[in-house]
């Protein structure tokens, strides 16, 4: 198989990039390991408030549907159930479909593998019934199956807020949110949101242990004031996200470590080119950000790719990138301003090599 652009990962960043590239006539393929496109949008029932203008306000589920319909109508090759498992000696990517392994040739590779959820360590975390909060949301909204009936959530953050609310709407009793940090370290607005929903947050707490014979039945919350044993059948871990970068490692991209972008991250320039000049990165794989950030970074990367493929001339590309970087700055404000600052310093460090 041969394409001009191969995109690894069919989530929001990959789909956004595929659409733009295909509109410009680039022969594009998406390698997606799941049986459907959309990535983590597929279970996001919450309305995404700050999407780029052209998308208005819609839920992640609706956006995933919009993207997958558009992508299939525009002639992008969606390789569903395909996983990039390695690279050949000459740098060609190796893809498996569960039956066969074969190379896919591409002029440009865009890695949009997104983010994975961080687990959390406590005795009993390996028991069935203890799962990441994203897994609970997949079961709830994508599969329409209740992950449990009585739940506690580890981690007070915007993801756990959205999903705790959804769990409760579906009849799961969310007994409370357990947060390691003290109340002063958490965003006030977020605390108010939990309060207004009457979801209790135990600050300065941790799960001491979870136990159960076959699956989780009890948790012990380690709190100075509240040392309580709770009967539950679901523990959701919301311990943050980190970029999925395994394909970039195999593609010989250089890495650096930036806490505010989610830890280990590939080095990239202002067009999201990595140190391997045929490999680009975008979305959460280029640093954990908001949905707007995911979409805009994909647009920037695809602009760079179009420029490299001589479909856009330098002047046009430069103009577009300037507009998009302004958009990215706007998207990454407030609690994402640290992400943006980290990104800017990463890009500036990359500059000498790009020339």
């Amino acid at each position: 198989m041969e394409f001009e652009l191969v995109i690894i990962g069919g989530g929001p960043a990959g789909l956004m990039a595929a659409l733009t590239a295909a509109e410009k006539g680039v022969k594009t393929a998406i390698v997606e390991e799941s049986f459907a496109l959309g990535g983590q949008l597929r279970q996001q029932a919450q309305v995404l408030e700050n999407l780029p203008k052209e998308f208005g306000k819609q839920s992640g589920i609706a956006l995933a549907k919009f993207f997958s319909n558009k992508v299939s109508s525009i002639g992008v090759t969606a390789l569903l159930g395909h996983t990039m498992i390695g690279t050949y000696r000459n740098g060609t990517i190796g893809v498996s479909n569960g039956k066969d392994t074969f190379p896919i040739y591409a002029k440009k590779i865009l890695v949009t593998t997104g983010a994975a959820e961080q687990a959390a360590l406590f005795p009993g975390w390996t028991l069935p019934g203890v799962m990441t909060i994203g897994a609970a949301q997949i079961l709830l909204n994508r599969e329409r199956v209740l992950p449990g009936k009585e739940a506690v959530v580890l981690g007070c953050n915007s993801i756990s807020y959205d999903i705790a609310k959804q769990l409760r709407a579906c009849g799961v009793n969310v007994q409370g949110i357990i947060e390691k940090k003290s109340i002063d370290e958490i965003d006030k607005e977020l605390i108010e949101k939990f309060e207004s929903e009457n979801i209790e947050v135990f600050f300065h707490s941790n799960i001491e242990k979870a136990a159960g014979k076959q699956h989780v039945e009890k948790v012990w919350i380690d709190n100075d004031v509240l040392k309580k044993e709770r009967e539950i059948d679901l523990v959701c871990i919301s311990n943050g996200l980190y970029p999925v970068t395994e394909p970039l490692e195999l593609l010989d991209c250089e890495f650096t470590y930036i806490e505010n972008l989610g830890g280990r991250i590939p080095k990239y320039g202002s067009s999201f080119t990595t140190s391997n000049s045929s490999v680009y990165v975008a979305g959460n794989a280029a640093g954990i950000t908001c949905i707007e950030g995911i979409l805009v970074t994909a647009s920037i990367a695809v602009t760079g790719i179009l420029e490299d493929l001589a479909i856009l001339n330098n002047i046009e590309a430069k103009k577009q990138k300037e507009i998009l970087w302004t958009e990215l700055l706007k998207a990454e404000t407030g609690r994402y301003s640290k992400v943006h600052d980290a990104r800017i310093s990463l890009v500036n460090d990359f500059l000498p090599k790009e020339i």
Binding site: S34, G134, N141, R144, C170
Partner: protein, 107 residues
């Protein structure tokens, strides 16, 4: 438990299909993953760990953690969270390592 009237989502008609778990006939909705089909039938423990024989089930639901292994249609260690349920599928508990090779048949 399957959520029939999802309060947050549009209602969707999903065809019921039958599959087998440990030989027992169960009902799932088409389009579901094997992991969800099992959870929907109240099955949370999908297998045991190799060394300590501790129970395992869904953890990441995203094909990364390998915690949800089951045997599907004779294929051991299959990711139940990444496989769609199909009519008549035979699903089995992941009870340990399979016996492979060395059976005299060559491959």
């Amino acid at each position: 438990m399957y959520i029939n009237d999802h309060p947050l989502l549009e209602s969707e008609f999903l065809e019921e299909i039958t599959f087998f778990y440990e030989g027992k006939q169960l009902i799932a909705k088409s389009g579901q993953t094997v992991a969800a089909a099992l959870m929907g039938n109240g099955i949370k423990v999908f297998g045991v760990s190799r060394k300590l024989q501790q129970p395992r089930g869904v953890f990441c639901a995203n094909g990364r953690c390998c915690s949800c292994f089951v045997t599907i249609d004779g294929l051991d260690h299959t990711l139940s969270c990444m496989t769609r349920i199909e009519e008549g599928m035979q699903v089995f508990f992941n009870g340990g390592d399979p016996v492979v090779g060395r059976g005299g048949s060559g491959i």
